[in-house]
């Protein structure tokens, strides 16, 4: 006869493992909070001295004179990210659709691993390639048609390199999302006599809209924070870019280029910490807002 008595050892193991996992989860989440708090703490000196608004809207960055205007950097970040998304989104959407809905299984088998390889290339490689290929292309071939002079180290170069970097990421997430849809959904539409394109447009994309949007948010967050590749091709001039052929200086590049140097300049490290905090808050806010918008959309469009 099997005993049904309480097995203390086994129950303890169950209890211990469950709680250990809980603690580990809490720890990993706490890091985000700790980072946020310490960034704030470190940037308090400059916030005490100048108002947040004057820091955010200031256009002049002269640390030696104590002028810390973040506006050029914020604009640089936004410009580069915007251009990267404009370039990569349509491309990724269409190739994601092609690969998951239209492509022959043989093509899929060939292409999927290649996308993963692309996603694994280190950013610095993309940066070097940007310097060797994208920057000269812009300064020699593209810019002369639009502006008088451009070194090529520009918002556009940053955007293109960034786009190329996030393309494999976005495509593979898009493919995952399309693949997760129930197959019956496509069959339902096709069996009514819809073409494949009609099915994609009206059913597949619609049904996966929230997933696609979440993937784009993820890509944008990634683009915001991408440092080295952008830093290498952007020109890093602390001025608000007037056209896509002007250089820019995104926030991550500012931190990476200057941290550890000129720390004797008063307020300098507080200013850099504030820029890190800004980056942190922008990404946090962006994620939160897009999540709220998504919930709204899902409710209103009967998805």
């Amino acid at each position: 006869m099997d005993r049904i008595k309480y097995n203390k050892y086994r129950q303890f193991k169950e209890f211990a493992i469950r709680n250990m996992m809980l603690v580990l989860t809490i720890i990993s989440l706490t890091f985000a909070v700790i980072i946020g708090i310490s960034l704030y703490y470190k940037s308090v000196p400059i916030l005490d001295q100048q108002s947040l608004w004057s820091l955010l809207s200031g256009r002049s960055w002269k640390p030696l004179k104590g002028e810390f205007g973040f506006f050029p950097f914020i604009m640089g970040t936004l410009w580069v990210t915007l251009i990267a998304i404009i370039i990569s989104l349509p491309l990724c959407l269409l190739s994601g659709i092609y690969l998951s809905e239209f492509a022959h299984p043989y093509i899929k088998k060939m292409v999927y691993p290649m996308i993963d390889v692309l996603a694994g290339i280190p950013p610095v490689v993309y940066g070097v390639w940007g310097i060797l290929a994208v920057v000269p292309f812009i300064s020699d071939k593209l810019a002369p048609h639009f502006v008088e002079y451009s070194t090529g180290y520009s918002v556009l170069a940053g955007g293109i390199v960034l786009a190329i970097m996030i393309i494999p990421l976005m495509i593979s997430v898009f493919i995952e999302i399309f693949g997760a849809l129930p197959g019956g959904l496509r069959e339902a539409s096709l069996s009514l006599g819809a073409t494949q394109w009609q099915t994609v447009k009206k059913v597949v994309v619609r049904k996966s809209f929230s997933g696609l949007a979440a993937a784009v948010v993820l890509a944008i967050s990634r683009a915001f924070g991408e440092t080295i590749a952008v830093l290498m091709v952007c020109g890093n001039v602390a001025e608000v870019p007037k056209s896509v052929f002007d250089p820019a200086y995104p926030l991550p590049a500012l931190i990476a280029n200057n941290y550890g140097e000129m720390m004797s300049v008063p307020m300098y490290d507080a200013a850099l910490m504030l820029s890190a905090l800004l980056l942190f808050v922008i990404i946090l806010a962006f994620n939160a807002i897009s999540r709220l918008v998504l919930i709204r959309i899902e409710r209103n469009f009967a998805l």
Partner: protein, 281 residues
């Protein structure tokens, strides 16, 4: 001389009609075949799924395809509207004739074949839009734009599917807010809205509660005057309740096909008899 020859011929014809009626296939004297399958072989990734299937599906009647799991019922059904080609690695030999036209022939537009057949899948699969838009989806993709026409159609087909009274006040709400039985009737209405000639049902009631599946069965019985209905079913009792014509498949082959009463009461094949008696299922 000639008249006697003619009368002899007529006599022979009558004989053959009587003979045919005795035969299990007598249903075709009243209902001409709507779908004819000739020497159909289907391979899925080198597995021989359908083996030399020959079959006639009668017009304006309910045909039930029965057989144990994995015998190729669903594959056969999906060959009819060419949904099978959508999945990978399929080879299809042989002919499927719908109204005498080969659906695998040259110059056949696959969308037109599918428009001829409404598909009701195992689990209801509402499209991600409102109840109204689900029914209007088919007409819209086939070019109907006028709001008024769409409204009339939606009401008509929701009515035919017995759902109008339940949803008429909430046509704008998402289709997923319906119960699963209602969703299945919505899918039926959606299928009817493209004016098909054939309704294909792939175990269309297996995911539903008894009351909902009874409703669907009643709908089939009502609709068979206008449509040829082909149902794959797992439950023998359902086939007994509603079938006019029964096809029994086993391991990719059609073992026996015949008029429902003939089939259930006097099965010809030993395998059929064993299946009906419940030796395997």
């Amino acid at each position: 001389m000639t008249s006697s020859l003619q009368s002899e011929k007529m006599q022979a014809n009558e004989d053959s009609v009587i003979l045919n009626e005795l035969d299990a296939g007598s249903i075709f004297s009243k209902h001409k075949p709507h779908i004819s399958v000739r020497n159909l072989n289907v391979y899925l990734t080198k597995n021989h799924i359908l083996k030399n299937v020959n079959l006639d599906i009668p017009d304006k009647a309910i045909t039930c395809i029965i057989g144990p799991s994995g015998c190729g019922k669903t594959t056969l059904l999906k060959t009819f509207n060419r949904l099978l080609q959508n999945s990978m690695d399929v080879r299809i030999d042989g002919d499927v004739l719908v109204d005498g036209e080969n659906i695998h022939g040259k110059g056949v537009e696959v969308e037109n074949i599918r428009k001829k057949m409404g598909l009701l899948s195992q689990r209801p699969c509402p499209l991600p839009m409102s109840i109204f838009d689900n029914v209007a989806y088919g007409p819209r993709i086939h070019g109907i734009r006028r709001k008024k026409t769409l409204k009339i159609m939606v009401e008509k087909y929701l009515g035919e599917a017995g759902l109008w009274d339940e949803v008429k006040d909430r046509l704008k709400s998402p289709a997923t807010s319906l119960s699963i039985g209602q969703q299945q009737r919505l899918c039926l209405a959606r299928g009817l809205a493209v004016k098909p000639e054939i309704i294909l049902g792939d175990e269309a009631t297996s995911a539903l509660d008894p009351i909902s599946s009874k409703k669907i069965e009643e709908l089939f019985l009502k609709l068979k005057d206008q449509y040829s209905i082909v149902l794959v079913t797992h439950t023998l009792r359902q086939a007994k309740r509603i079938a006019d014509y029964v096809v029994f498949m086993y391991l990719g082959e059609v073992i026996e096909a015949g008029h429902a009463s003939e089939f259930f009461n006097h099965p010809k094949e030993k395998l059929t008899k064993e299946y009906l008696d419940g030796y395997f299922s």
